[in-house]
Amino acid sequence: MVEVTSRTGPAGAVEIAPGVHWIGALDPALRTFDIILRTANGTTYNSFLVRGESGVAVVDTVKLEFAEDFFRRLESVADYSEIRVIVLNHLEPDHSGALPELMRRAPQARLYISTRATSMLKALLKPKEADRSFEYETVGTNDEVSLGNRTLRFLHTPFLHWPDTQCTYLVEDGILFSGDIFGCHYCDNRLFNDRVGDFRFSFDYYYGHIMRPFKAHVVEALKLIEPLRLTIVAPTHGPILRDRPRRYVTHYRELSTSSLTERIGNEDRSLVVFYMSAYGSTARMADAIRAGAEETAGIRVSLYDLEGGETGPFVDLIEEADALAFGSPTINGDAVKPVWDLLSSLAVVNLKGKLGAAFGSYGWSGEAVRMIEDRMRGLKMRVPVPGLRLKLIPTDDELVECCDFGRKLAAALVGGEQGRVIDFSELG
């Protein structure tokens, strides 16, 4: 007879190394995570228990709804009175949900969180809990906590994917409790990467939605992680990576490296001009802007008609561009939908510091340009050149104006703006 194992996993804790147990929870029914992620076969909330000669450490907890599973697994390998250390690598509710109850059951334990986690800790706990002055300590890179024969060493890895995130390294065993880094939403009760199903898609999908906006921070974290001896990488979601864990570190390095730099060099600054055009006027503006921008040495301009492409590849282009210009006609007082579709799909990439510009032809009111500029500012882009609006069909003189707009944008991009003094009232 075929034995069908429970999707919610084994009843007790699972040993991942001598004296180190998985005590997390499986959530096979979850189909959407954090609103933004699809989870075709659920997720796991991984937490771990480390036994040392002078006490027990618990690394991360689980989502509140799964606290019962967590405590049952914890109780199968330790008594609450033995817990000396609780580490939270990340305070998002799916990892901190069982924390208040754990601290109630193990009041002698000291909590270790990253230096940036304090305000989040207070905001996450109910006011009643926050009033209790339980012990916690903030830690940074290379701070250590000893469990006698075992040492927990902290790595400060902020913004992966919250400001508070950190990793905890079990020095003597070479086990990295990596928080959400190297994680994925993939639920499989066999737990280990050499035993579960094919989770490559989930791993890359998770990176693409959770880590991708923070690539620069991934690179900083990898500088701390790559030199470590790694026998196991134990993230807070998805399979425990015990078979060739370094492959995943290498894969993160690849995913975080610029493909524009890799493939076509990094000498030029990249300006991507996107446009939509109903009667060809905004398209002609785009051509003229490109011509103007290209006069400046060291600028690579790419021109794309939004009508002929899809959001996904455009997002990839935007991620690697240094400046973006959006051209839209105004229809019924608004920019056209494909522009908004693209401008509302950029949460997965880091736009900080990119330059933005807007232009467009209009019939009678021309609101689109201002609206696009406001959106770009909202996305933390810098808008150095005021937007360019033209009524209906551009004249030759107006196309010269478009060229000049391109030149100004290019100048801003290569840092050629002169040290102007502007009066605040001029800025509108």
């Binding site: 510091g353 150095p384 050149v385 801003a412 703006e417 102007r420 003094v421 502007i422 605040f424 800025l427």
Partner: protein, 94 residues
Amino acid sequence: MAKAKVTFEDINQTVNVPAGTRLIEISEKVGAGIIYGCREGDCGTCMTHVVTGWNNLTEPSVLEEKVLRENMANRHDRLACQAQVLGDCTVKPA
């Protein structure tokens, strides 16, 4: 009304502003690289380094000092959404 000159080092532009204007308002309008989040002194996103003229900004509040500390601010960093300009200064994104 008293005026002050604020120079944004990242874009090499100077703006003449009425004293009392918040840094974030100027930065946003001139298109400098200081970014913002909550705009109410809580998130630390708009952290700005004051290159010169540290004393020409309003004193940081207790709350601002706390947020700066939590975000591991360096000496002479301020939150652009909190600091008001009183005299000439030069700033850049932290």
